[in-house]
Amino acid sequence: MLTAANLACTRGERRLFAGLNFAIEAGGWIHVTGENGSGKTSLLRILCGLSQPEAGEIRWNGAPIRELDDEYRKILLYLGHQTPVKEELTARENLQISGALAGTVLDEADADAALEQVGLGGRERLPVRFLSQGQKRRVALARLLTSPAPLWILDEPFVALDAAALEMLAAIIAGHLAGGGIAVLTSHQEVTIEAAARLTLRIAA
C-alpha cells in the first residue's frame, strides 16, 4: 500500500502543488492528470525518491520511503520520459542488464519470451539503434514483464505507441494489478485499465 501525506513540491521558484494526499492499495492504480508543467513528472519523481519533496511524507506499507531506502528500490520500477536503452546493445542484452541492475539474473529464454510478448520477436539480437522509436520504447516496456517489482511508476507510458501496443500495455498493467501490484501513471489520454480500484489525481495550478 502506497500513501502520501501533505506532499508539497517546488521546482525552481514555483510552488507546483501542496497538501497532496492519497492512499492506494494493492490491485489499484492512480491516474495522475494535469496540464503540461503542472508537476505530474515532479510528483512521480518524488514517489521514486529521485527528488525530495518540499514537505510531506510518502509511506510504503506504513514505513517512510526515506527510511526504507534500498528496500523501497527493490519493490519499485520506474519508467520516465526517456527510453533507458543503450543503442549499442541488443534488445536482449538491454533486458538482461536491466535485470542485473535490479539484482536478478535474467536468462536468454526469459528475456526472449518477454520481447516476443511485446511484439519484438525475431529482433532480440538486433542492436537497438536499428529499431524504430516505437520499437525502442517496447524494449523498455519489456522490463515490465521481467520485473517482480510490485510498484510501477510510469510517466507517460502510452506515448509513441500505436493502437495495438497501447492495448497490449493496458493488458500488461491490468495483469500486474490483478496480481496484487500497484501502478501510478500519468497520461494525457483517457485509458481504460481493468482494476480493482482506480484513483484519479488531478494536479491543478
Partner: protein
C-alpha cells in the same frame, strides 16, 4: 506480474558490479572511435612538445616525464565526459540510481571500466612514446608504474568533476577547470617519480605517496561522486 515473479535468481552485489563493468566494456568495444580518439590525442600532444621546443635530445630527456604526464592528464580529462554522459542522456544513469544495489558500487564499477578503457592504454602506450624522448629502460619502467598508480587516481578524482557537471552548460571546459587543480598532486608525484629515477635519487618516495593518494581516492572519490550524481539527477 505474478507469472514472472519467480523469474531469475538473485544476483550478489559483486556479480551486479561485474555485470556493469562488462556492460561498459562492451559499449566501449562497440563504439571504438571514442576510445581511439583519446589515445590519438595522447600521442599527438606528446609529439607537439618537441615540435614546439626543438629536437635537442638532452632537453627532451629532461622534460620527458613532465610532458608524458601532462599529456596523460589531458587525455584522461578529455575522456571524462564519456564516463556518465551517455548514460545520463538516455536515462540509464537514472535507472542505476533506482537500483537496490548501492549506487556507490555501481559508480565504482563504472570508474573501473573507464580506467580499463581510457587509462590502461595510456600506461601501455607511454613507454613507447618515452623512447621518442630517449628515456632509458629503467626510467620507462618507473614511468609505467607511476602511470599505473596515477591513471586510476585521475579517473577517480575526475569522476567527481564529471558527476558535478552532468548536463551543465559548458560542461567539457568546466570539468577541466574543476578537475585540473585536483590533479596537481598526482602530476607532481607521478612525473617527479620518473625525474627522481633519472637523477638517481630513487622513485620510491614519490611512488609511495602516489599509492597513498590512490588509496585515499579509492575510499572517498566514489562516495563524493555518488553524492554529486544524486544532486545532478534530482
Amino acid at each position: 506480474m505474478s507469472a514472472t515473479t519467480q523469474m531469475g535468481t538473485q544476483m550478489s552485489v559483486i556479480a551486479v558490479a561485474i555485470a556493469v563493468v562488462r556492460r561498459d566494456l562492451l559499449l566501449a568495444l562497440r563504439r571504438k572511435s571514442e576510445v581511439l580518439t583519446t589515445l590519438f590525442f595522447f600521442v599527438i600532444v606528446v609529439s607537439l612538445f618537441p615540435l614546439g621546443i626543438g629536437p635537442e635530445m638532452s632537453l627532451l630527456r629532461k622534460i620527458a616525464p613532465g610532458v608524458l604526464w601532462v599529456a596523460a592528464l589531458l587525455a584522461t580529462m578529455l575522456s571524462l565526459n564519456r564516463l556518465f554522459g551517455a548514460d545520463y542522456a538516455d536515462g540509464t544513469l537514472e535507472q542505476m540510481t533506482l537500483s537496490p544495489v548501492p549506487l556507490g558500487l555501481l559508480v565504482s564499477a563504472k570508474i573501473l571500466a573507464h580506467w580499463l578503457v581510457a587509462g590502461l592504454p595510456l600506461v601501455l602506450l607511454a613507454p613507447v612514446l618515452g623512447l621518442q624522448f630517449d628515456l632509458d629502460p629503467r626510467s620507462l619502467g618507473v614511468l609505467m608504474v607511476s602511470l599505473l598508480l596515477g591513471t586510476p587516481l585521475l579517473s577517480l578524482v575526475g569522476a567527481i568533476g564529471a558527476a558535478l557537471t552532468l548536463g551543465v552548460r559548458g560542461g567539457g571546459v568546466l570539468v577541466s577547470l574543476l578537475t585540473l587543480p585536483l590533479y596537481i598532486p598526482a602530476l607532481i608525484f607521478g612525473a617527479g617519480a620518473v625525474e627522481a629515477d633519472i637523477s638517481g635519487l630513487g622513485a620510491g618516495g614519490h611512488l609511495s605517496l602516489l599509492a597513498a593518494l590512490l588509496a585515499l581516492a579509492v575510499f572517498f572519490a566514489p562516495w563524493a561522486t555518488t553524492a554529486a550524481l544524486r544532486i545532478a539527477l534530482e
